[in-house]
Symmetry: C2
Subunit: 120 residues, 2 copies
Amino acid sequence: MHQHTGLIVAAHGSRRAESNEEIKRFAQNLATTLEQIHFVAPAFLELATPSIADAIQNAITAGCREIIVVPYFLAAGRHVIKDVPAIVAQCQQENPEIKIRLTQHLGVSQGLQAAVRELL
Amino acid sequence: MHQHTGLIVAAHGSRRAESNEEIKRFAQNLATTLEQIHFVAPAFLELATPSIADAIQNAITAGCREIIVVPYFLAAGRHVIKDVPAIVAQCQQENPEIKIRLTQHLGVSQGLQAAVRELL
């Protein structure tokens, strides 16, 4: 990862504006802890904007040559298995000069155990 | 928290069985790291079983006198704001001798930042 790397936090999206704002704040906070990445943005699969495709385009416009998409989902349902990969594949096809990488979804992160214990 | 405390990991639920299995495994793994809690179980708001109400009842049957419900959701949409609290309130009303406590939802946990960084 270098300074031309962008990170997209790809969440589900909600009809409730405050819920989407929460994801946006999360992405902003994440940005402050990732010095190697100069562009961090939230994106939504549905019900909110920007879409994942738009966020990827925004990252490219901002100068990113490598874009990492993190599926911000707790379990690998249809959205993680099919929908998000399909969007990323389409964006990759349209932007062959950019390296777009999809990580595993949040649910596999070992850090979630500590995250839950924090709430107790 | 003592040995008569139960913990319910209350997730959304998916049509995809593997997704629900993932939540069940998460709850099992969590159980091994929480020695003060002798009952840890997954539960689902919809599309999978056990329901949150059934999981609470199972915890009571298992001898829990205090039950902690963690909304395993990343953002406070309708499910976190209305649906899960309504179920917990109903269960509390039906079981006044049990102390049922609803925590904040997973999305507010500071540990999520580290959980995302782990995926990069």
